[in-house]
């Protein structure tokens, strides 16, 4: 109540000071790749949108469109938002990259924020989270927990973000369990519950007792629960309804602080094109509760790794590391640079899966 009152008072003051702004609410648009009820990726972006609404109250109006196919439909959707008065538009899937850039060219006064891409412009920022930090912790737990030594990985598309996640998980599983093997299925979708469930079941049939996923629905969790004796991790969202097993922990994307900060920048007129890549330390990546299904010592190690990553003492990609073909990548103690990580198109040594070519 008090917060709202302070905010409305602030809004009122602002309104008195800047009448032009008070008349015009700042309009913030969101383009989602899945439905807001996917329980994963899009759900968390929508939580960020709701946080913006709550934080700014009447000062801001938000609009969104869900399940927008990547490609021409995305371009039209973004353009319609821009034309209908959006001041700031977040496009929240990699496949919206070119569409975002194209629309941004036509609407130089509108600010755009594209998630997980690499193309920027004067009015286009990019932002993403260092999910690989969470993947490293997952890999550690997975390597310790697996009894069959087979870990199944439901990959979405062979893009750097996904490849990076597989590498980070594998490196840390291998570190604690030299016999571990990763089986990777490329689902070619971000959100397709039946396909994701099929992939999980196929991996379990091949002996996997840990399922990691880079797809957005809870279908793999349900498949693992049905199979029994299989553990999973929440992806993008906590997926807490599958606690304490099969879901033993999770990577949670917390976009709210970023969305609020960027909206504030537009309101203040201080918005600039930036490239943001935040991890555990600033809170963009969170590790969901590690349940009691995980032995206490493993949990302790996992949390210690999280602290080390957050404090900057440890980087998940620290040498010695070789590429899959055996060629040297990082020397002893050497840390991967962001450029290589952002364009990662190779697996590390030991992975037997292939990146589709």
């Amino acid at each position: 109540m008090t917060l709202t009152r302070i905010l409305s008072a602030a809004a009122l003051t602002l309104g008195l000071a800047l009448p032009a702004l008070a008349q015009d609410k700042t309009k913030v648009g969101f383009i989602y790749v899945g439905p807001i009820g996917d329980g994963g990726w899009t759900y968390e972006h929508d939580q960020g949108r709701l946080a913006v609404e709550e934080h700014f109250g009447d000062q801001v109006e938000t609009v969104f469109q869900e399940s927008v196919p990547e490609g021409n439909d995305a371009e039209r959707a973004i353009m319609q938002m821009a034309r209908r008065g959006a001041d700031l538009i977040f496009t929240t899937s990699f496949g919206y990259m070119d569409s975002t850039i194209n629309v941004a060219r036509e609407f130089p006064d509108v600010k755009f924020e594209h998630a997980t891409g690499y193309k920027t412009a004067d009015n286009v920022s990019v932002y993403s989270a260092r999910f690989y930090e969470g993947r490293a912790i997952q890999g550690h737990i997975a390597g310790k927990m697996t009894e069959s030594n087979i870990i199944g990985y439901i990959a979405s598309y062979p893009i750097p973000e996904v490849i990076r996640g597989i590498n980070a998980a594998y490196i840390h599983a291998k570190k604690v369990n030299p016999d571990v093997e990763f089986k990777v299925i490329w689902a070619y979708t971000w959100f397709d519950p039946p396909k994701e469930a099929d992939a999980a079941t196929a991996l379990i049939d091949q002996g996997a007792d840990v399922i990691l996923q880079h797809t957005d629905s809870t279908a793999p969790q349900a498949a693992a629960e049905k199979a029994g004796g299989v553990i999973t991790f929440g992806q993008a969202s906590d997926m807490a309804e599958y606690k304490p097993t099969p879901r033993v922990s999770s990577i949670i994307d917390n976009w709210a602080p970023y969305y609020i900060a960027r909206t504030q920048a537009v309101i203040d007129g201080t918005w600039e094109s930036t490239e943001t890549w935040d991890g555990i330390a600033p809170g963009m990546v969170e590790i969901g509760e590690i349940t009691d299904a995980v032995p206490a010592d493993v949990k302790e190690e996992a949390l210690a790794m999280k602290e080390a990553i957050a404090s900057g003492d440890y980087h998940p990609f620290t040498g010695p590391l070789n590429r899959q073909d055996g060629s040297a990548w990082l020397a002893e103690g050497e840390v991967a640079d962001d450029g290589t990580l952002l364009g990662m198109d190779f697996f590390v040594e030991g992975l037997t899966a292939e990146i589709p070519q």
Binding site: P35, P69, G71, R76, A77, Q80, R84, Y157, L342, M344
Partner: protein, 363 residues
């Protein structure tokens, strides 16, 4: 003894009802959809107005109207081809696959010339796109003619083969060498000779729209004036009579599948070189399947198909507006589109049957 409603088969399908059914279906959908939107806590009148009125006459209609044509173009092109086959009882269900292959061959030819600039490249791509779709449709065609396989199953299954091929191409042969490891081909938009650019600035209208309109005219003439059109209609209505009239069923099968494949391939080529802009893993968004609905909604008639494609485009674009402006969930819009088809099929019953009040017979 109470009166009951009885269905009675009409001796002849009713022409009036055949024409009236789509209109009635749209009206019923407006009411039923309105009720659904009301149940979701929305103002039903505002929701229906946003879907049907806003894109045509709203504040930004001059931007939305050409988008209707852009969205309707691939649907029209594909549905025209399908309808020719459907009329002759030849069921190509795999237009989605032919659409993908047309895009691959069209874009492939264009990219093979990169970065040469020449006015010949785009026409070559058009030919390649049509040929690609045609060739993909010839597989179920030849298998049917030679071995009597079912073209419904074969053409449908080939959609999934085409999707795998698309992924393979996006990740391999056609991948952009300067794409930083990301899947997807070079942008055809950034390659002027291969770009299916907009013909009128700011509208988005491209060659695919022109091709769709030409296809409508040709199909109309073909069906109304040409011997082939007569054979197609005859084969559908009276296969035995068609044989007596000298129609070669195998030849007709190949012609119909070939035309629909070529048109679907063309649609894919125009789309990839224009609105979509590049070959990528999820380039196809279901136009090949939606076109089946469009073909029936348009009564398998070329002009009807054009109108039906525009109507579908309207529900897409109006639906998107309802989502963003009113916050309607995407699923509700899909339900709304589903209702339209459901009611069309329901009302269609009246084309072939009539309703009669009858006294129940005493047992």
């Amino acid at each position: 003894m109470h009166p009951v409603l009885k269905l009675e088969r009409r001796p002849q399908p009713s022409r009036t009802w055949s024409a009236l059914a789509p209109v009635l279906a749209v009206l019923i959908t407006m009411f039923a959809g309105g009720a659904m939107f009301a149940a979701l806590g929305q103002d039903p009148v505002e929701a229906i107005r946003t879907i049907f009125w806003e894109p045509l006459f709203g504040e930004f209609a001059r931007f939305d109207r050409p988008q209707l044509l852009v969205k309707a173009a691939p649907l029209t092109l594909i549905a025209i081809g399908l309808a020719l086959g459907f009329r002759a009882n030849i069921w190509n269900i795999g237009a989605e696959g032919q659409y993908i292959i047309g895009a691959l061959t069209g874009a492939g030819v264009g990219l093979a010339f990169y970065p040469t600039e020449s006015a010949l490249i785009f026409p070559l791509m058009v030919v390649a796109g049509a040929l690609g779709g045609w060739a993909w449709a010839m597989i179920p065609g030849l298998l049917k003619v030679r071995f009597g396989t079912n073209e419904i199953l074969v053409s449908l299954m080939l959609v999934y083969v085409a999707e795998q091929l698309l992924a393979k191409m996006a990740l391999g042969l056609l991948r952009n060498p300067e794409g930083r490891g990301f899947p997807g081909s070079r942008s055809l938009r950034d390659y002027p000779s291969a770009h299916n650019a907009e013909l009128f600035a700011g509208t988005g209208i491209h060659w695919g729209v022109v091709a769709a309109l030409i296809a409508v005219i040709f199909a109309y003439i073909l069906l109304a004036r040409h011997m082939l059109g007569f054979h197609i209609k005859l084969s559908g209505q009276a296969p035995r009579a068609a044989r007596f009239a000298g129609v070669n069923p195998a030849r007709l099968t190949l012609i119909c599948l070939g035309i629909s494949g070529a048109l679907a391939g063309l649609a894919g080529m125009f789309e990839v070189a224009g609105p979509a802009g590049q070959i990528n893993i999820d380039f196809n968004v279901g136009y090949g399947f939606t076109a089946i609905i469009v073909a029936f909604l348009g009564r398998l008639h070329p002009v009807g198909i054009l109108l039906a494609a525009l109507l579908m485009a309207l529900t897409y674009i109006g639906g998107e507006l309802a989502e963003t402006n009113l916050g309607l969930p995407a699923a509700a819009i899909q339900m709304f589109q589903g209702m339209l088809l459901f009611f069309l099929l329901a009302v269609d019953l009246l084309t072939h049957f009539r309703l009669r009040w009858r006294r129940a017979e005493v047992a």
